[in-house]
């Protein structure tokens, strides 16, 4: 026989629950631990810095790397366990909400019909059922921590005991490289892998990882260096690819011998496409992406373009001391071979989306690892400006704070169509490429809407980044973010 409803203390308890209060507590848990994956990414940055041996090497430093790897592994396991536990908390709050609502209905029914002999209404039974589900969900939230040695809400006593429950050794099954090519999705996938999984997938699939926009720069660099090493030592490597591989390896060696941090961001030997960063793209405050024009290839021009990148970096440091900088030589598209083909947009129609995707990847990787948004400037020369034009046509905003157009052969639309808050332009009177809109329907001067950078009449088409002319210093100021756009211009 069922007890009278008014006496059912359990229903009264349910009706008194502060479900919004429980929801706020769960939100607090989510907020407090939601940044654990980015926390781990920063920790692994320290680990890689020690591992590099740049500032510390020897037995003690190797032990430090091992200890940091343990902390990283614990952080990854903890994030996974807390995420599972959090899902149970959310289910608990949902069930508690149902239970409370139905309990209130049942109590209201009892108050309206105090003398009914029909027993408890269905709402009362359902309320108790949802309360039981809430209770089970609360228990499940605790069970989700069992893998970390939490028993009956008692956590391990110290880090050593916690470590016992975290897999550190043994073979790691490399995770499959995702099918998505959306940089933000790639970045999230990468951030969700443990450090051991990240290293494993780099080792097993260096080609795909090195080409994935959205993967952090350090990982792409490691992957592409593996690809490079294999190409250099594999006698089956086609001759032209082997030449490019040697050029890239030589350039990396030369820059590193000079104390420069180098990251190989793209190494598509078959496609003759390379992107090389001078500076750490994962931590730099400022990023400059140099997009060259007609007739540039990795084999013939990587060294000269790296020199341009160094000059831009020097000019930027001159303009703003104390910030960290990475400059990228972006040969991520097949440049037109000749001036004649440079009047056509085919190469830019391929290169534009690749550039837009690459910029999205840089931004997504930084966002996923919470390493701050760098100021990103695209410095495009000649036909490279047409590539930027096409990149801006890709759906979604161009992930750049500023665009610098040097010796542009013509653009479509106006400066604001490039989607960057700041657009600067340099067109020398001595540069015939800028006399006519070969590749678009507009000159970049006048009504185009870009802020003009200083030039001299003696400058030719290849002189914009030469230290003896004034444009380079101005480009450095743009990269550093200290050059102000003219009123009424981008």
């Amino acid at each position: 026989m069922t007890a009278p409803l008014a006496d059912d203390a359990r229903l009264c308890t349910l009706a008194d629950w502060d479900v919004p209060g429980a929801g706020r507590a769960v939100t607090l848990l989510d907020d407090a631990t939601g940044g654990l994956s980015t926390w781990r990414a920063r920790l692994e940055g320290v680990e890689r810095a020690v591992e590099s041996g740049d500032c510390w090497s020897g037995t003690a430093s190797r032990n430090a790397v091992a200890a940091l790897a343990q902390v990283s592994a614990v952080a990854w396991s903890l994030a996974a366990a807390l995420d599972a536990s959090l899902s149970c908390y959310r289910r608990m709050v949902a069930e508690a909400g149902h239970a409370q609502e139905l309990a209130e209905q049942a109590l209201a029914h009892a108050a309206t019909f105090p003398d009914t002999a029909a027993g408890r209404p269905a709402a009362a039974e359902t309320a108790l059922w949802h309360a039981a589900l809430a209770d089970a969900a609360a228990d499940d939230a605790g069970h989700a921590l069992a893998g970390l040695g939490v028993v009956d809400a008692f956590a391990p006593a110290d880090f050593g005991q916690l470590l016992v429950h975290v897999p550190l050794m043994g073979p790691i099954q490399p995770p499959p490289v995702p099918h998505t090519r959306v940089p933000a999705e790639v970045a999230d996938w990468w951030a969700g892998l443990s450090e051991a999984q990240q290293r494993s997938v780099i080792s097993m699939s260096p080609g795909p990882v090195g080409a994935l926009d959205g993967v952090p720069a350090w990982a792409r660099d490691r992957a592409n260096r593996l690809v490079l090493d294999r190409a250099l030592h594999d006698p089956r490597t086609p001759a032209d690819e082997a030449v490019t591989a040697r050029v890239v390896a030589d350039r990396v060696a030369r820059e590193e011998a000079a104390g420069q941090t180098v990251q190989v961001q793209l190494l598509d030997l078959a496609g003759d496409r390379v992107a090389l960063s001078l500076g750490d793209l994962d931590t730099a405050d400022e990023v400059a992406v140099l997009v060259p024009g007609v007739g540039n290839t990795p084999e013939d021009d990587l060294g000269r373009l790296a020199g341009n990148a160094r000059d831009i970096a020097a000019a930027s440091r001159e303009a703003s001391h104390g910030t960290s900088l990475a400059t990228v030589v972006w040969l991520g598209y097949r440049t037109p071979d000749t001036v004649l083909t440079g009047t056509m947009r085919f190469a830019a129609e391929d290169g534009g989306p690749a550039l837009a995707h690459s910029l999205d990847g840089l931004a997504a990787a930084r966002t996923a690892t919470a390493t701050g948004d760098p100021r990103t400037t695209v410095v495009a020369h000649s036909y490279g400006t047409v590539v930027v034009d096409e990149a801006a046509d890709v759906p979604g905003w161009l992930a750049a704070d500023a665009v610098v157009l040097l010796g542009s052969p013509g653009m479509e639309d106006y400066a604001n169509s490039l989607e960057a808050p700041e657009v600067f332009d340099a067109a020398s009177p001595g540069d015939p490429v800028t006399w006519f809109p070969w590749d678009g329907d507009r000159w970049t001067g006048g009504s185009y809407g870009a802020t003009a950078l200083p030039v001299t009449s003696g400058m030719g088409h290849s002189d914009y980044l030469e230290p003896e002319f004034p444009t380079l210093a101005a480009v450095g100021e743009v990269v550093a973010g200290v050059r102000v756009a003219e009123p009424g211009h981008c």
Partner: protein, 107 residues
């Protein structure tokens, strides 16, 4: 320090290692702040959900806090090890430098 590696070489750049130690200390401090927020959440569950549900939710959240606290403490300890390493290398260097002073014999 005074125990060379088998290959006879090691390196320590004080400013570089100190910067890494500072980053670890910052990470530990951030996580310690999160631990306090988790504890606050744990304390509010029994008030919100009286009964077994609230108690179980609070107990589990307390475990969350403990686990994060272990991670924070270990990170803080490693930061201290790096800081100590820098101090030890510098102290050893200073001692060696002093031993070359006139009238003293190198150790």
């Amino acid at each position: 320090m005074s125990h060379p590696l088998p290959d006879g070489s090691f390196l320590l750049v004080p400013d570089g290692v100190t910067a890494l130690a500072d980053e670890l200390a910052a990470l530990a401090a951030e996580l310690a702040g999160d631990v306090e927020r988790i504890r606050a959440a744990a304390a509010s569950f029994p008030d919100a959900l009286s009964g077994d549900e609230g108690w179980a939710a609070a107990a589990t959240a307390t475990s969350w806090a403990r686990l994060c606290d272990l991670l924070s403490s270990r990170t803080s300890a490693l930061s201290g090890v790096l800081t100590s390493a820098v101090a030890a290398y510098q102290a050893e260097d200073a001692a060696l430098a002093g031993s070359f002073a006139p009238g003293r014999h190198p150790r």
